[in-house]
């Protein structure tokens, strides 16, 4: 009882998986940057800045990612904004996950002992140097475990771009399943590929968590 259809099409699915990994990788860096900027705004910004960030976070956390993707895909072209779907998909996902990264980074920044800031400033370090060699390295280390867990959600969310016709693993699976009428095998195989990707990330996250436990 071999899944022969799956085996026959596995190469095609793997090509989709490569795109999925590419999409995720392309999204992770912008979301981290956006998340860090938002976190800095929330921790150090004035009342107006914080309010704007709060509104942004409220909207992003309350509206489903798919709705945001639809907006980008269907609505923007009407204003003459011609966004290439790939770029648009990555942009929307970065804005979406950036909001979740913001909370992670904010918590990390606030958990840094005050003496670290004091020590850096007392040695005569100015803002840019202090952030570069004292603050950011520690914040990223502190944020790493929850960050990696969010990356797992990110990888899973790339499946949604299949709905706006961006070709990746899930869309590849749908194409094959429709062609071969073997949805159980094909979607099962697709699930396994996602599982391998995400499980690897989760093990890495656990490894980071263990390292944190011994570092302090």
């Amino acid at each position: 009882m071999l899944p022969d259809v799956l085996i026959a099409n596995f190469g095609y699915l793997l090509r989709g998986a490569v795109v999925t990994v590419g999409l995720a990788a392309a999204t992770i860096v912008p979301s981290a940057v956006i998340g860090m900027l938002l976190a800095l705004a929330k921790v150090f910004g004035g009342i107006t800045v914080r309010a704007i960030v709060d509104v942004y976070l409220y909207v992003i956390r309350g509206v489903p990612l798919l709705v945001l993707l639809f907006f980008m895909y269907y609505a923007l072209p009407y204003s003459g904004i011609d966004v290439p779907p790939l770029f648009g998909g990555v942009l929307v996902m970065s804005l979406y996950f950036g909001a979740f990264m913001a909370e992670i980074f904010r918590a990390a920044i606030l958990s840094l002992p005050r003496a670290q800031w004091d020590a850096a400033r007392s040695l005569g370090m100015r803002r840019r140097l202090m952030f570069r060699i004292v603050i950011y390295p520690q914040v990223f280390r502190l944020a790493a475990p929850p960050f990696v867990n969010t990356c797992i959600l990110l990888v899973k969310s790339t499946s949604l771009v299949s709905i706006i016709s961006l070709w990746e693993l899930t869309l590849a699976g749908r194409e094959v399943a429709e062609r071969t009428f073997a949805p159980l095998q094909i979607f099962g195989g697709v699930a396994i590929i996602y599982f391998v990707l995400c499980y690897a990330l989760s093990r890495y996250g656990l490894y980071l968590e263990e390292r944190m436990r011994f570092a302090h």
Binding site: P113, A115, D118, L123, G124, R127
Partner: protein, 267 residues
């Protein structure tokens, strides 16, 4: 405003009528204090007396509301221009701080850097010392405090006492004019306190100007040139350690010492 004394006679640290409030609460009330070159002043007092805040005003970690703070004749944090208080630029403040060493109660060291890098990072990047010289200086300091073999370790591998000693070395690497100590032994296990105090004693013997906020009364009595007792944001009594501890003139100091002796069972 430079004083008319020569550089040699000029006090190292001058606090002139320094005041500070947190909202309604007056933390420092018109405090004036002078520390001469090479002097070791110990500040004692109950918690909430403002002694830590006063210390932190010296390198502008606390932005005092009123009065002046001068280190080696230069105003810290603010300068007076035609009678108006103007906040100094970030660059000026950072430059002043690079000449003042401070050691905190805990979490001093940067946990993601080795001991050596902790000590060399600021001299290289703030004072422009060459990496080779910074490392040589660092190793010399580590050798002096007996921790040279820990140079490539991360702080997490060191005991609390070792970390505090490295923190002192890190401050010294900047070749400061004055060293500030904020209850540096209070968070340590008792058996580790001695090694830190030994380093501080040798610093004092070498003539470093030091301002030390501490609970270690024995140490203060033996090593300090002068004791300052603070309570409720003001200096209540100050003077020679032997005299102060054996014959306090104010009631509040007497009560403080009595409470201290009772809790530590010292004679």
């Amino acid at each position: 405003m430079p004083t008319e004394l020569t550089a040699h006679e000029r006090p190292m640290v001058e606090l002139r009528r320094v005041s500070m409030s947190f909202g309604r609460h007056r933390v420092l009330n018109d405090v004036s204090l002078t520390v001469s070159r090479g002097e070791m002043v110990a500040i004692i007092g109950p918690s909430g007396s403002g002694k830590t805040t006063l210390l932190r005003c010296i390198n502008f970690l606390e932005e005092y509301d009123g009065g002046e703070v001068l280190v080696d004749g230069e105003t810290v944090g603010f300068r007076l221009e035609a009678g108006r208080r103007i906040r100094r630029t970030e660059r000026e403040i950072a430059a002043t701080r690079s000449n003042i060493g401070i050691v905190f109660q805990s979490y001093n060291l940067f946990p993601h850097m080795t001991v050596l890098r902790n000590i060399t990072a600021a001299p290289i990047r703030v004072k422009g010392v060459s990496p080779e010289e910074a490392e040589a200086r660092a190793r010399a300091l580590l050798s002096r405090i007996g921790l040279l073999e820990k140079a490539d370790e991360l702080p997490v591998k060191l005991s609390g006492g070792q970390q505090q000693r490295v923190a002192i070395a890190r401050a010294l690497a900047m070749q400061p004019k004055v060293m500030l100590f904020d209850e540096v032994t209070s968070a340590l296990d008792p058996e580790l306190v001695g090694e830190v105090l030994a380093v501080m004693k040798s610093l004092a013997d070498d003539g470093m100007t030091m301002v030390v906020v501490t609970h270690e009364m024995q140490f203060a009595r033996e090593i300090a040139n002068r004791i300052v007792f603070m309570d409720e944001g003001a200096i209540v009594e100050e003077g020679d350690p032997k005299r102060l501890f054996s014959a306090p003139t104010t009631e509040r100091l007497r009560a403080f010492l009595k409470r201290y002796r009772e809790s530590y069972l010292l004679s």
